[in-house]
Symmetry: none
């Protein structure tokens, strides 16, 4: 299924959020990742100018958001919901890692509406709320400071949703392909550079052909690691040639 | 290497941040993921109560943060830096995906200090700042709304750092990382090479500081693609120095 359609089937449900700024941050986080359906269960303060400010260009998500009194209402029509929780609850679903849980969420989204459910900033989700969800996820944190901001938690999970939804598609950025400004240098052009370097180094005395050591192999190893472009070979040879003019050393053909 | 130690070697560098709230959010994002070393280049307003408020329990990172005037100073002592950028720059390093780029960052952190570099909220990083980094990363976003909040961007990349550092499988050696024969050159050593090159080229007349054109960025792009080793920097500077002896041009300290 089209990744954009999959992402449009994910509701982000904020349960009893206290700070309007976090609601705005959540909306912005969602929209940057291509999610659009924001639900709020009994928000303390909404609508609110602080939410609009933090949402910046995602105020449309706030305007279209659904506000309900209970989580059950917010989940009406969904077939799968994942609860974010910092700890395993006695009766709750087993806590999964973000990547694996999001993969499951997206697989379920192929068949219908799904939800990511976030708790209040201070107390999280209640046990009862967690029992309304079919899965639970935890974001791994520093055990000495696990206080993830609500907007940041929404950002991380929405990011995983986008990464997973688009993973099957050809990558936007082709790995290993450097956008070259000039064509790659040919073998003989690179050899010309090595010859030129050797001539200059011999002339200045930096290289002694009688006792070559490992200098030339080291230079080959260095420049061999880059795929030199033609322009770059020309620049390097230009620099070498300019030092030869100064020293009166004729440039090797 | 111990994942906590690896994470402690990652600097988060915020260049010219405008909003103190974002600085606080970045500190909190870092600490939840086990990162601790915050650097700021010319922040508009810092310290600031709004930064403390948004940092909540991560005010210790703000108190210990390093503030510098330039990105070069913030990168002193690092051997690998990744720039966050929304778009490919003409002469900048190839844009990578977060997961692969973070894997490479952590592989480099095995050998020393590394950095994640973030630009200003509105204008991002300058081309010159990007050329101080050896790699670039982009966070995939909704093409219709790519306005990721600075704190959220820090959160996503720090999250990827933690996930990768603690992944059960042995660290992936990312493509492009050569097992080095000598330790990687630090940022300042590589900067020393650029300064030396510029001095020699200026002396021979190959480079005209009055009409600099794109020569220096092109050289940074060239050497930025290789992870130069300390020995290699010494060899290249040795060659440059030997041409200066011949031309009677005093070597720059």
């Amino acid at each position: 299924m089209n990744p954009e359609v999959l992402l449009s089937r994910i509701r982000v449900v904020l349960c009893r959020p206290s700070h309007p700024g976090n609601i705005g941050a959540a909306a912005r986080a969602m929209k940057t990742m291509g999610l659009s359906r924001l639900y709020m269960v009994a928000p303390k303060q909404f609508p609110d100018p602080e939410a609009d400010t933090r949402a910046t260009g995602a105020v449309d998500l706030l305007a279209q958001a659904t506000v309900t009194n209970t989580l059950k209402e917010a989940l009406a029509g969904t077939s799968f919901a994942v609860a974010l929780s910092a700890r395993q609850r006695d009766l709750g679903p087993e806590l999964g890692a973000p990547r694996e849980t999001v993969a499951r969420l997206l697989a379920e989204a192929e068949d219908g509406e799904v939800a990511l459910v976030f708790g209040n900033e201070t107390v999280g989700l209640s046990n009862e709320e967690i029992l309304n969800c079919q899965a639970a996820v935890t974001i791994p944190t520093n055990p000495d400071f696990s206080s993830l901001n609500l907007g940041a938690a929404v950002q991380v999970l929405c990011y995983e949703c986008r990464m997973t939804a688009f993973a099957a598609k050809p990558p936007v950025i082709a790995p290993g392909v450097t956008p070259f400004a000039s064509p790659a240098a040919t073998h003989d052009e690179v050899e010309g550079l090595y010859g030129h370097l050797e001539a200059v180094m011999t002339h200045t005395g930096f290289f002694n052909p009688e006792q070559p050591g490992r200098l030339l192999p080291k230079l080959r190893r260095l420049f061999g690691r880059i795929r030199l472009e033609r322009d770059e070979v020309n620049i390097l040879r230009g620099i070498l040639a300019s030092t030869q003019v100064r020293t009166g050393h004729g440039r090797k053909p």
